[in-house]
Structures are given as C-alpha cells and as structure tokens.
C-alpha cells in the first residue's frame, strides 16, 4: 500500500545522453563538484564509524563525570557521543564549505559554518536526552522487552515532530501571485491549499530548494529565497510549487511516518539485542554501544530510505507535470539544477543508492520527456 503511486504503470522513459543534453564544460563542472562531495561523505562516514566504535569501546568511562544516577548518566553519555560525532565531522564540514565557496555555491564563512549549527546541535542534545530518558526508563521496568514499548513512543514523537516542523524555522508569506498559483494548483490536485511561505537562506547558500512540511492543519510549502532571486523563470518556480503540492496531495509526509513506523520495531529490537552484553539499555554503559548500532543501522538502511524517497519524488514530479502541463519548464528547471546548483545529472549507482533522495537530473528530464510523449 505504501508503494502505490500516481505514476502510470509501464511508463517508458526515453534514453537520453548526458552529452547531448548538457554542454561539456557544464557537465564536467557538475561532475567534478559532486565527486569531491561524495568522497567527503564517504570519508566522514568512515571517521564517524571509527569514532563511535572507539566510543562504544571506551566511552563508558565518561560515567565518572556524572553524579546523576542511572538515567542521567545515560543522558550524559548520549550527549557526549553526539559531541564526539560533531567534533569528528568538523574537518569535513570545513572541507565542504571550502569546496562550496570554490564553486560559488555558498558565501558562508568558515566560522559561520562551524557555529551556525549550534542551535541544531542543542536540539539534538535535547532530543537524544529525551530518547534516552524514555528508553532507559522503559528498560528499567522491562529489561528485555523495553523495545516493544519504546517503538510506539518513538513513532508518536516522530509524528509530533512532523506535525510541528513548519513552526520550527522562520519564514515569510509568499507574494500574492505565488499564493494564487498555489490555490490554483491545489485545486487541480484536489486538496485544500496549504500555507505557502518563503525562507530566507541567502545568508548561507545559493542553492535552490523547496520542501513540503507538516500534515493536517500544519501543512505548508516552503520555497527557499534562492529560488526566487531571478535565476529561475516564473514557469520553473511554478513547477517547483506544483511538485511540493504533489507531496501534500500524495500524503507523503504521513507515508514517510508509516515507513518509519514499519522499521521502528526491528530497529529498537536490534539495539536491544546489541546492547545485551553491556547489561542492556537499563545500564548507562550500554549507551555508547547503542549510538554505534543506531548509526550503523541508519547507514545500512540508507539505500532503502533513499529508494523510498526517490519513489515519492518521482510521483511528485509526475503530479507536477500533470498540474502545470508544461514539460519545457520542468526540463528547464532540471537543467538549471545542473548548470546552477551543479547537481551531477547522472551519478554512479552507489552514489544514487547512498546519497540521493531524488531521481538523478537525467532521469527527471527523461521523466518530463516521457510525460510529453504520453500527453500528445
């Protein structure tokens, strides 16, 4: 049921050639740009695993820094784990900033890069503390079966988080013309129009983006200000808008929660299993191990997560084409993602599996062409 899509069965995509779609220089620039980012990602994940493995091995020693009892000490160990993760990623974040600046993808300074995420890090500290309070309290009561009770709690928290996400970052209402477009497209997709907002991101990136957030009464589409800075035509922005509305009309936020719910139980069970040798999650010493297991599980499930995400993005692309009925604008938009945002149009398969939550640029162009052929 979760795999259902509004993309027609048996849709045949034309096979386009990168070299024919893009100029050689633009193609090479995008490929070079993304190649470095892929290497940066791989290196950062390897370091992450090594750091967490070391932490799982020796991290329990940090318990002596706590006077907080079982659960409080577990929280401290969880937060220290996150702190080490943050520290281990600093060189890669700096390298990424350097690369982005070199390719004119960002004006952010190095100091800004390091410290702009401190609020997010604080939120993560709070989140892991809350998660550990729940897990360790349940594990204290049900040492071997805590995971059965914990999974529904985490699903509830994830649902709450998805519900309030639209309120977690500052936005401005979009202009009247865009609002009118949103109403028109929402009507075409047979949904109530959600709130349409613009987030000013010009201070830290030039990359274009938009997203759908919330569900029920909190539904919202957010366009980044970089999408409205004159580099994209009106029709291209409309394509983006229709795409994001497609996520709402396809209930993709709730679908994502359902996917999460599907994996929450086995995930918590695996953590419970892996931490038994440290006495189980009722003991603070198990926390560093649980962090390692959690990260390994997340990395291991990346291909599946990305496949699910690409499936939804594909559907949103199709719905956008059906809404705007303008394949030229869609194609123009996707081409600019490569020429302006330097997205590699045809990345290697492993990169798609591990890194790409969207279909490749070439696939999206092929998709637009397939819609054009079908609609004739």
């Amino acid at each position: 049921m979760l795999w259902q899509t509004r993309v027609p069965d048996g849709l045949r995509l034309p096979e386009l050639d990168n070299a024919r779609v893009f100029e050689g220089a633009a193609l090479e620039r995008a490929e070079t740009y993304e190649r470095f980012l892929r290497l940066d990602f791989i290196a950062s994940q390897l370091v992450l695993i090594v750091v967490l493995a070391l932490y799982a091995w020796r991290g329990a020693g940090f318990a002596r820094e706590s006077a907080a009892g079982r659960i409080g000490t577990g929280m401290l160990l969880g937060m220290i784990g996150l702190a080490l993760v943050w520290l281990s990623q600093v060189p890669f974040r700096v390298a990424e900033t350097w690369w982005d600046r070199r390719y004119d993808q960002s004006d952010a300074g190095y100091v800004t890069t390091l410290f702009e995420n401190w609020f997010a890090l604080g939120a993560e500290f709070l989140f892991i503390s809350l998660a550990l309070v729940i897990v360790m309290a349940l594990a204290g009561r049900f040492p071997r079966r805590w995971w059965i009770a914990a999974a529904p709690v985490f699903i509830g928290l994830a649902t709450l988080f998805a519900f309030v996400t639209p309120y977690l970052f500052p936005t401005e209402p979009a202009n009247a013309a865009l609002q009118a477009d949103a109403r028109r497209f929402a009507s075409a997709q047979e949904i109530e129009p959600p709130r349409l907002s613009v987030q000013d991101v010009s201070g830290f990136t030039d990359a274009p983006n938009a997203f759908a957030a919330g569900f029920g009464p909190t539904r919202r589409v957010v366009l980044w200000s970089t999408l409205l800075d004159g580099r994209f035509s009106e029709g291209e922005v409309e394509t983006v808008l229709a795409h994001e509305l497609g996520h709402h009309s396809g209930n993709h936020i709730l679908e994502s929660l359902a996917w999460y719910a599907l994996f929450a139980l086995p995930g918590t069970w695996l953590i419970a299993l892996a931490t038994r040798r440290r006495g189980g999650m009722r003991h603070p010493a198990a926390v560093p191990v649980s962090l390692l297991v959690l990260v390994v599980l997340q990395l291991g499930s990346l291909p599946l997560q990305n496949a699910i995400s690409r499936h939804m993005e594909e559907e949103a692309d199709w719905v956008a084409l059906e809404t705007t009925r303008d394949a030229d604008q869609a194609r123009g938009l996707f081409e600019k993602f490569t020429t302006l945002a330097l997205a590699d149009p045809d990345p290697p398969a492993w990169s798609t599996a591990l890194l790409d939550g969207h279909p490749s640029i070439l696939e999206r162009i092929e998709f637009a062409e397939a819609w054009r052929t079908r609609s004739r």
Binding site: F62, R64, M75, L76, A83
Partner: protein, 427 residues
C-alpha cells in the same frame, strides 16, 4: 604563598548619615583629583614599563608613585561604595579603614612585563564585574572621568560595587550602619580591583587572585539555614567543558519546568506559613530540593562543579547546598517577602554577572589546563551560595536573609571596630 597585594579592613560599619546622603557630592573634589592623577599615571606607567623591560625591575620611585595611586583609588572606591566612612586623603597614604598593602619594588620576569597588558585582560574583565571596571579600584569609577581611561573605557559595567553602594546608601540612611555582608562584598571588590591595578601598573608580577580568602581578611559568615559545601578537586574533563552549555540543556529544560511548580508551591507554602508560622514539611522538602537542584545546575553550567548533576536535587553534589529542616518563620517577614527580597535580587544580579565571567574565563582555563582555577572556583561557589540563599528566602524555605559576604565557610567573627581598637590603645 602570601599574596603581595593584601586587603586590610578595619572599618567599624558605623556611618554618618549626613555624609552618606551627600556622598557623591562630597566626593566631587576627589573626582577632579583622580582625573589629574590619572593623567600623570598613564605616562608614568609607560615609562615604568620600558624601564622594567630594560632593567628587569620597576624603578623604585615610579613604583612608589604608582602604589600610592592604587591605594588612593582603593580608598576612593571604598568611600564611594560606602565600604568605608571617613573622607579619604588625597595622597594615598596607608591607614584608611579599607586599605591595601602593596609590595616593595622587586625584580619581575621581562616576558611577563612585555605581555602585561594582554595578560591583564581576563583580570580586567573580572574586575569590571566585581569592581567597577576601573583600574583605580574604583567604585563609582563610571563617573570618575580619566579613571575610566584604562580599564574603565573597556569595561563600563556597573559592577558589584555599584550595587553595594546603591543598597548600602538606603540601608545606612535607615540604620546608621553599613550591613556587614554588603560592606564585605564591596571591600572584596575594592581589593580585587586593587590587585588588578597593581598587576597592570607593574607594582607586582603576581596575577590577581579572585579567591576572597587569598588576599583578604577573614570574612565573616554568620550561621545561616542555607550553606554551601564544596568537595571538588578542581579537575575538569576538557570534553565536557567544551560542550558544557549544550550538556546542560536538559537541565535547563527540567529546571524551567520545575521552577513553575516551585513558584506555585512557594505560593501555597507562603499562605501556610502565614497561618502556622512555619513551612509545611512536604513543601519545604520539595522547595529545598528545588533550591539544591538549581544550585547544582548553576555550578555545573558555570564550571564551578565538574560532574553532571542529578535531576532530583538530592544532596551529594560536589558543590552542594545544605538546607536545614523547616523552622519557625516570622509572619511579618513572610507577608512582605516579595518586597524584602528585592535587594537580594539586586545583589544576585551582580553576582550572576560575576558568575558568568567566572564561567567564561574558567572555560578557557579549563580547556587549556584541564583544571578550574582555584580563585574562580571559590568565587563561583560563593555566588552559587548567595543565589541559593536568595531563592530559599524568596521561596519561603527560610527567613534568614541572604548574606552577601564573600565567604564560603567561616566562624562568625566580626571585625573589631577600629574606634574601639584605638580606644584600647589609648587606654
């Protein structure tokens, strides 16, 4: 090791209401005088710096001149902050009720001399909070013109001295005496500022110590229902220091939630105490745990304590607050508690600023050395004690008024009045 700059307190707490009322106006000639003196001191200090760099010790004449200036600044600061009563002399001669003893000129390492201004920055920052931010030790330094031209221009914060002077002014006009806690706190501020000035002006190469016991008299601390117990070895984990504020976030959230409940409980406790003359035992326990917990969190967040505290306010933390059982409380004091606590809140504000500076400086020091400097730690613990006393008073845990003296633990030994000493000597 004895501190080369020592604070001497022989004040008897008595004040003349008339001179207190007109204190600022009476000090006007001193303002003009210190401006003139400072204009001379600046080039003198520069010459002294070159000479000390060349010869390895400050010239004796300049050293004496700068020492007199520091003493004079301390006298004036004490006079303005009401830490002392007599009108000070204009020459910085020793013998004032709040005085500083300064060392003779001695050899100083050249590298310390060369970097003096940079090295003095942390001390100046702290002096800006516990003193007035002026190098002359100066309470009221904000108004003292060129006195601000050194540290004061950098740090123009009001400081604890201003709070002490403000509160002391009202108290003295009412009582004819300066409250001893306020006097001691002001004297400490004068002493620390004098240490900083002496360091900056090359009178000594010993770095200022913020430990109130290191360079001061034996501070008084009367018996109080709320005390502080410090059992900390000064060692700090660099990792938890680096992320200290983030690590404290869960505690901040929990403390906020608990605060809401505590205020409601205090309201009920206040009504109960008005009727029965003592706190309800369960509410007393609840509020005592809250006071202890907020002290633990404050100590942890400001690096005064090292270990991650528990969430229940149970006793046993390295910087702990001792709270006795519920005792009888004055109904009058309970009825007017919210008004009576305002002066304590003002002092708490000043000490909180000091605590913030302690945490800021301690963060760098602990990251570099893996230890929290003793002076900062003790000053921080004193601030934590006072904040705990204030919240215990406000929340009707006790009717003992917060005591501002910069003491951690001491027997109550009031300093003998200077007049009586003189009288005995005469006899």
């Amino acid at each position: 090791m004895d501190a080369p700059v020592r604070l001497v307190v022989t004040d008897d707490l008595r004040r003349s209401r008339l001179t207190v009322f007109f204190r600022l106006l009476l000090a006007l000639p001193h303002f003009f005088w210190i401006v003139l003196w400072t204009i001379v001191v600046v080039p003198a200090a520069i010459i002294c710096w070159f000479a000390a760099l060349a010869t390895g010790r400050p010239p004796t004449g300049l050293h004496r001149f700068l020492s007199a200036y520091i003493r004079y600044g301390a006298h004036l600061a004490a006079y303005l902050s009401l830490a002392a009563n007599p009108y000070p002399g204009f020459t910085g001669e020793p013998g004032y009720p709040i005085d500083v003893e300064l060392p003779e000129a001695a050899p100083q390492p050249r590298w310390k001399t060369a970097l003096r201004l940079v090295l003095a920055l942390p001390a100046l920052l702290l002096a800006a909070v516990v003193g007035s931010g002026s190098i002359g030790g100066g309470g009221g330094g904000r108004g003292s013109g060129a006195d601000e031209s050194w540290g004061g221009f950098l740090f123009s914060g009001g400081g604890l001295l201003v709070v002490c002077a403000f509160l002391g002014w009202f108290a003295t006009l009412a009582l004819g005496r300066m409250p001893s806690g306020l006097r001691d706190l002001a004297a400490y501020g004068v002493g620390y500022s004098a240490q900083t000035s002496a360091y900056l002006l090359l009178v000594t190469d010993r770095y200022p110590s913020s430990d109130p016991d290191a360079a001061g008299p034996r501070w008084s601390l009367p018996p109080h229902a709320i005390g502080v117990e410090v059992d900390d070895d000064g060692r700090r984990s660099r990792l938890t220091v680096f992320f200290r504020l983030l690590l404290a976030l869960p505690h901040f959230v929990w403390l906020t939630l608990w605060s809401v409940a505590a205020v409601l409980a205090a309201l009920v406790n206040g009504i109960y105490t008005l009727v029965r003359g003592r706190s309800a035992a369960p509410l007393h326990r609840f509020l005592a745990a809250y006071v202890r917990y907020s002290a633990h969190v404050t100590a942890f967040a400001t690096l005064v304590g090292n270990r991650f505290p528990g969430f229940t306010g149970a006793p046993g933390y390295a910087v702990d607050i001792s709270i006795g059982a519920a005792e009888r409380q004055s109904r009058w004091v309970t009825l007017f508690r919210t008004i009576l606590v305002i002066p304590a809140f003002l002092v708490s504000g000043g000490l909180s600023a000091a605590l913030a500076v302690v945490a800021f400086l301690g963060w760098f020091a602990a990251l570099a050395t893996g230890r929290m400097p003793e002076g900062l730690r003790r000053l921080g613990a004193i601030a934590v004690r006072y904040l705990a006393q204030t919240s215990a008073y406000w929340l009707i845990v006790t009717d003992d008024y917060p005591y501002a003296s910069p003491a951690l633990r001491a027997a109550y030994e009031p300093i003998e009045p200077a007049a009586e000493l003189h009288g005995e000597a005469a006899a």
